[in-house]
C-alpha cells in the first residue's frame, strides 16, 4: 500500500508538469497583457514595468524561470494585486476556502447518505418521491440563484443572519455560504446513494446476510451501505477538490476572501502568475483526492487490492 501511494505521488509530478506547461503557454496566447488599461501607459513606462516583472525576456526563458521558482515553492508576484505575492494570496485565501468547502462537504456527505438511504429503504413511497424531487431540484438550480435568494431571505427579509461578509471567528457568517455549497452536493449524493443502495439490497451477499437472519441494522448498515459507498466515494474525490478550492459565485455573492475568484480575476486581468498559481493549487488538490479515492476503494471493497 505504501509503495503504491509513493508510486502514485511520483506519477503525479509529470501530470502537474504538463498542466503547468500547457497553462503557461495558453494564457500567453490570450490577447493583451497585465498592464493593458483603457488608458495606455507610456511605452517607456510599460517597458520599465515589463522589465521589473521579467516580461521582456524571451518566452522560453520566462518559462524556465517560472519552473525554477515553482520547484522552490515560489509562485511569483501577482501582477494585479501588487501588494501581495501569489503565495501570500493563497496563504490568506485557502484556509477560508478549505473551511467552507470542508464544512459543505461534510454536510453534503452526511445529509446525502441519510436521505439517500431513507429513499432506498422506503423505495417508491411518498417519502422516496419527495426526496428524489427535492434532489432533482437541488441539482438543477444553479448556485447563482440559490446564493442571492438565501442572502435576501435570511439576511434582508428575516434579518437573522448576515447578508454577506466574512469573519474567521463568527460562524454566523459561514452558514449561508456552506448551505449554498452543500445543497447541490446533498442532492447528487442522495441520488447516488439511493441508486447504489437499491442495487446493493438485491445483491447476493446482502440476500445471504438476510437469510442468516442478521438484524436489518447490520444488513443495511454494514453490508448494503458499504457497497453503496463506492460510487459516492468516487464522486467525492473530484468534488472535494472543487469545493476546497473555492467557488467564484459563492465568494462573489457573499463577499468571501477565498481563492475561488482568483482564477477568473487573474484570467480577466491577464495576471499570469495568479492564474498559474490557481491552476497548480487545483491540480495538486485533484491529484491528492483522486489518490484518496483509490485508497478508500481498497478499504471499502475487499476485492480491490494494490500491491
Amino acid at each position: 500500500m505504501l509503495g503504491y501511494t509513493l508510486r502514485r505521488m511520483a506519477s503525479a509530478v509529470p501530470t502537474i508538469f504538463i498542466i503547468v506547461t500547457l497553462t503557461f503557454f495558453a494564457i500567453r496566447i490570450a490577447p493583451g497583457g497585465p498592464f493593458d488599461l483603457e488608458r495606455p501607459l507610456d511605452p517607456l513606462i510599460l517597458a520599465n514595468l515589463q522589465r521589473a516583472y521579467n516580461l521582456d525576456a524571451p518566452l522560453w526563458q520566462q518559462y524556465l524561470m517560472y519552473l525554477g521558482n515553482l520547484i522552490q515553492g515560489d509562485l511569483g508576484p501577482s501582477f494585479t494585486r501588487r501588494d501581495f505575492s501569489v503565495n501570500e494570496l493563497f496563504a490568506q485565501g485557502l484556509p477560508v476556502s478549505i473551511l467552507l468547502g470542508g464544512l459543505a462537504l461534510l454536510a453534503a456527505t452526511i445529509f446525502g447518505i441519510i436521505l439517500g438511504a431513507i429513499a432506498a429503504l422506503k423505495q417508491n413511497s411518498w417519502l422516496d418521491n419527495l426526496i428524489v424531487a427535492i434532489a432533482t431540484l437541488g441539482i438543477t438550480t444553479p448556485n447563482f440563484v440559490i446564493a442571492p435568494l438565501l442572502s435576501l431571505f435570511f439576511g434582508v427579509i428575516l434579518g437573522v443572519l448576515p447578508a454577506g461578509g466574512w469573519s474567521n471567528a463568527n460562524p454566523a457568517y459561514w452558514i449561508l455560504p456552506v448551505i449554498t455549497l452543500a445543497l447541490p452536493q446533498v442532492a447528487v449524493i442522495a441520488r447516488l446513494v439511493r441508486g447504489a443502495t437499491v442495487e446493493a439490497l438485491r445483491a447476493n451477499h446482502v440476500r445471504t446476510a438476510r437469510a442468516y437472519g442478521l438484524p436489518a441494522r447490520v444488513v443495511v448498515g454494514v453490508h448494503a451501505l458499504r457497497a453503496a459507498m463506492l460510487p459516492t466515494v468516487s464522486y467525492l474525490g473530484p468534488t472535494a477538490a472543487a469545493l476546497l478550492t473555492g467557488s467564484v459565485v459563492v465568494e462573489t455573492v457573499f463577499g468571501l476572501p477565498g481563492v475561488g475568484r482568483y482564477f477568473v480575476q487573474g484570467a480577466l486581468g491577464r495576471d499570469y502568475t495568479l492564474v498559474m498559481g490557481t491552476v497548480v493549487v487545483i491540480a495538486v488538490f485533484v491529484v491528492i483526492f483522486n489518490l484518496l479515492v483509490d485508497l478508500a476503494y481498497a478499504w471499502l471493497d475487499p476485492r480491490v487490492r494494490y500491491d
Binding site: 488608458r39 517607456l44 437573522v160 443572519l161 447578508a163 475568484r261
Partner: protein, 525 residues
C-alpha cells in the same frame, strides 16, 4: 431578540468587559473593487483614489463638496507669470508622529516621475517643469521643477501657466510619501505594519476580496473633527451584493447601483438613492474611411440629429445617465458651458429627423445607400445603446451594423488608428477642468480616435494654455468646443452621473461632480 441582536449584544458585552468607555463608531463603505495596490504611484482607478484619500492628505484636498481646498498646504503664492507656485505647509504629522515636511512631497514627486518607478499616472504631473522629459528618460530626475526651500516651504515650477494646476494636486498622483519608511521597506512599505500615512486614517489590515480596514489617525491635524473611528472598505464586484447588504443595514454607503434594478431602488430605497452629475461624457467618435460620406460634416450632423438621447438615458440606462449634446460635462469648473450651443438640441425629434433627411439629401446620400458600422466593447448597456442608435438611424435612411469587440483590445484598436465608422467611447475627467476633455480632439493625441484635425481648434487650445485670466480662458475654450461640435467629428450622447446608496444615518455626504466623499467629512447618527 434575533440571532444578530444576540451576536451584537455578546460582542458589545465583550467590548464593555474590556473596559472601553465610549462605543467605537464604525462605518462600512462599499467600493467597486479592491485597490490593485496602496502605493499611490501605481494606482489608476477611482476605487483606489477613494481609499488613498482617506489615508493621505495632499497639498490640496477635496472638500465635502468636491472642491479643491487647502490640505497640508495652508496657503500658496503664484508668481506674476503664473509658473511658480510657493506652498506654505501647516504643522502636520505622519501617523508615526514624524512631521510632514516639504521634503516628503518633493520625494514623492521625484519618485513618481522617475522612469524606474514606472508610474502609470506620472503624466498627471507633466505640468511641472521637466517632468515629461524625466519620465521618458531624456533628463535626470534631479532636474524636476520641485524645490524644498525649507521644511515648511515647497516651490513648484511649471512649464507654462496651468490654471488647473491646483485641481491637479487633488489627484492621488500628487500625494506625499513618508520618505524614511518607503526607503527602509522598499516594495513592502504598504504593509499595514510598515505603512505610514498622513491622512485622517491609517491602515489596520487589508484582506483581498474581503475588506480594507482603516482606523482613525490620532496624529492627524484635524483629528478632533473626524467622528468615524473605523472604516471598513468592502469591495463589491457584484453591485446587487452591496445593495443587499445595504438593505440589511450592514453597509452604509454603496458606490454604485445595479442599473437593471433601478425601478426597485426608486420604489423602495428612494431616500437613499443619490444620482448626481459626474465628470464624464459618453460619446461616439466618428471616423469613416477616406471618401466615405462620414467625412462630410453634414452627414455626421444628420446622424447626431437622429439620435434620441432622452430615450437612451431613460430607457437603456434607466435614468443613471443624463442626455447630453456636448463633450464638456455640465457643472465643470473654469468654464461657461451655456456659451456652447447645439441648435437642434431643443427641437422636437420628428422635426430633427426631417432636417436630418434634408441634410443627407444635400450631401448626396440617398436613403438606404449608406451603411455604417457601430463598434463597441462588450457590455450589456453598450450593446443596448448601440442597438437603439442603429434603430434610430434607419429612421433617416441609414443602415447600421453592430460590431462587438472584447474589452481588452477594444481601446488599443481605437488608439492605434484602426479603421472604424462610428465607435463608442467614454471619458471620465482626471481633474475638474474643460481642458481635460477638449484635449481629446487635439491633433496628434492618441485619444483622438477620429483623427480629426482642425488648426483653429488646436490654436485655441494652445492659446488657452497660456491665458492667465480664467474668464478669458473659459471663453476661448468654449469657442473651441463650438468649433468641434459644429463639425460634429464627435457625437456626444450622454453625460455620466454618479449613483450611490447612502444610509439615512449618514451625515455630511454631499453630492458633487467629482463624486468625492472622503470619510473625514462624514458622520453617523
Amino acid at each position: 431578540m434575533t440571532m444578530r441582536d444576540l451576536l451584537a449584544a455578546s460582542a458589545l458585552s465583550l467590548v464593555l468587559g474590556a473596559g472601553a468607555v465610549s462605543a467605537e463608531v464604525v462605518m462600512n463603505r462599499g467600493n467597486d473593487t479592491d485597490p490593485a495596490t496602496l502605493d499611490p504611484h501605481h494606482t489608476q482607478t477611482v476605487s483606489e483614489s477613494r481609499v488613498l484619500k482617506d489615508l493621505f492628505d495632499g497639498l490640496v484636498i477635496q472638500s465635502a463638496k468636491g472642491e479643491a481646498i487647502p490640505g497640508i498646504a495652508e496657503s500658496w503664492d503664484l508668481s506674476e507669470d503664473g509658473t511658480v507656485y510657493t506652498f506654505h505647509l501647516r504643522d502636520a504629522k505622519w501617523s508615526n508622529g514624524d512631521p510632514v515636511t516639504a521634503g516628503d512631497f518633493s520625494f514623492a514627486y521625484h519618485r513618481i516621475v522617475d522612469p524606474m518607478t514606472a508610474a502609470g499616472y506620472a503624466s498627471n504631473l507633466f505640468a511641472i517643469k521637466n517632468a515629461e522629459a524625466i519620465a521618458s528618460g531624456k533628463m535626470p530626475v534631479d532636474q524636476l521643477g520641485v524645490r524644498v526651500i525649507d521644511d515648511k516651504t515647497l516651490e513648484i515650477t511649471l512649464n507654462s501657466p496651468t490654471p488647473y494646476f491646483i485641481e491637479l494636486l487633488t489627484h492621488q498622483a500628487a500625494l506625499p510619501l513618508h520618505q524614511k519608511s518607503v526607503e527602509e521597506f522598499g516594495d513592502q512599505f504598504t504593509r499595514p505594519e510598515n505603512f505610514v500615512t498622513n491622512g485622517a486614517y491609517k491602515l489596520e489590515s487589508f484582506t483581498p476580496n474581503s475588506q480594507l480596514v482603516m482606523v482613525k489617525n490620532p496624529e492627524y491635524y484635524n483629528a478632533d473633527q473626524v467622528t468615524i473611528d473605523r472604516v471598513n472598505w468592502i469591495p463589491f464586484e457584484d453591485r446587487s451584493a452591496c445593495m443587499r447588504r445595504f438593505e440589511a443595514g450592514e453597509v452604509q454607503t454603496c458606490t454604485d447601483v445595479p442599473a437593471e434594478q433601478m425601478d426597485y431602488v426608486k420604489a423602495n430605497l428612494a431616500d437613499s438613492l443619490r444620482i448626481a452629475p459626474y465628470l464624464g461624457t459618453y460619446y461616439l467618435p466618428v471616423k469613416g474611411a477616406e471618401g466615405s460620406p462620414l467625412k462630410d460634416a453634414r452627414v455626421r450632423k444628420a446622424i447626431s440629429m437622429a439620435i434620441d438621447r432622452d430615450f437612451i438615458a431613460e430607457e437603456v440606462w434607466a435614468g443613471t445617465m443624463l442626455p447630453s449634446y456636448k463633450l464638456v460635462p455640465p457643472g465643470i469648473a473654469n468654464y461657461d458651458g451655456d456659451a456652447v450651443t447645439v441648435d437642434y438640441a431643443d427641437e422636437d425629434l420628428f422635426d430633427r429627423e426631417d432636417d436630418a433627411k434634408a441634410l443627407l439629401e444635400e450631401a448626396g446620400v440617398a436613403p438606404g445607400s449608406l451603411t455604417v458600422e457601430l463598434r463597441y466593447n462588450t457590455g450589456e448597456n453598450h450593446k443596448n445603446t448601440m442597438a437603439a442608435i442603429a434603430d434610430m438611424l434607419t429612421n433617416i435612411g441609414i443602415n447600421a451594423r453592430l460590431n462587438e469587440v472584447e474589452g481588452t483590445t477594444y481601446f488599443n484598436y481605437l488608439r492605434e488608428d484602426g479603421p472604424f465608422d462610428m465607435a463608442r467611447a467614454g471619458w471620465v475627467g482626471d481633474y475638474n477642468d474643460p481642458q481635460n476633455f477638449l484635449m481629446l480632439y487635439e491633433s496628434g493625441v492618441a485619444f483622438n480616435y477620429s483623427r480629426w484635425s482642425n488648426a483653429d481648434y488646436d490654436a485655441a487650445l494652445d492659446k488657452a494654455a497660456t491665458t492667465m485670466d480664467l474668464g478669458e480662458r473659459a471663453e476661448i475654450l468654449a469657442g473651441a468646443e463650438q468649433t468641434l461640435l459644429d463639425d460634429q467629428a464627435i457625437i456626444p450622447i450622454l453625460a455620466y452621473s454618479s449613483r450611490a446608496l447612502v444610509a439615512a444615518n449618514v451625515e455630511g455626504y454631499e453630492d458633487n461632480l467629482m463624486d468625492a466623499h472622503a470619510t473625514r467629512w462624514l458622520s453617523l447618527n
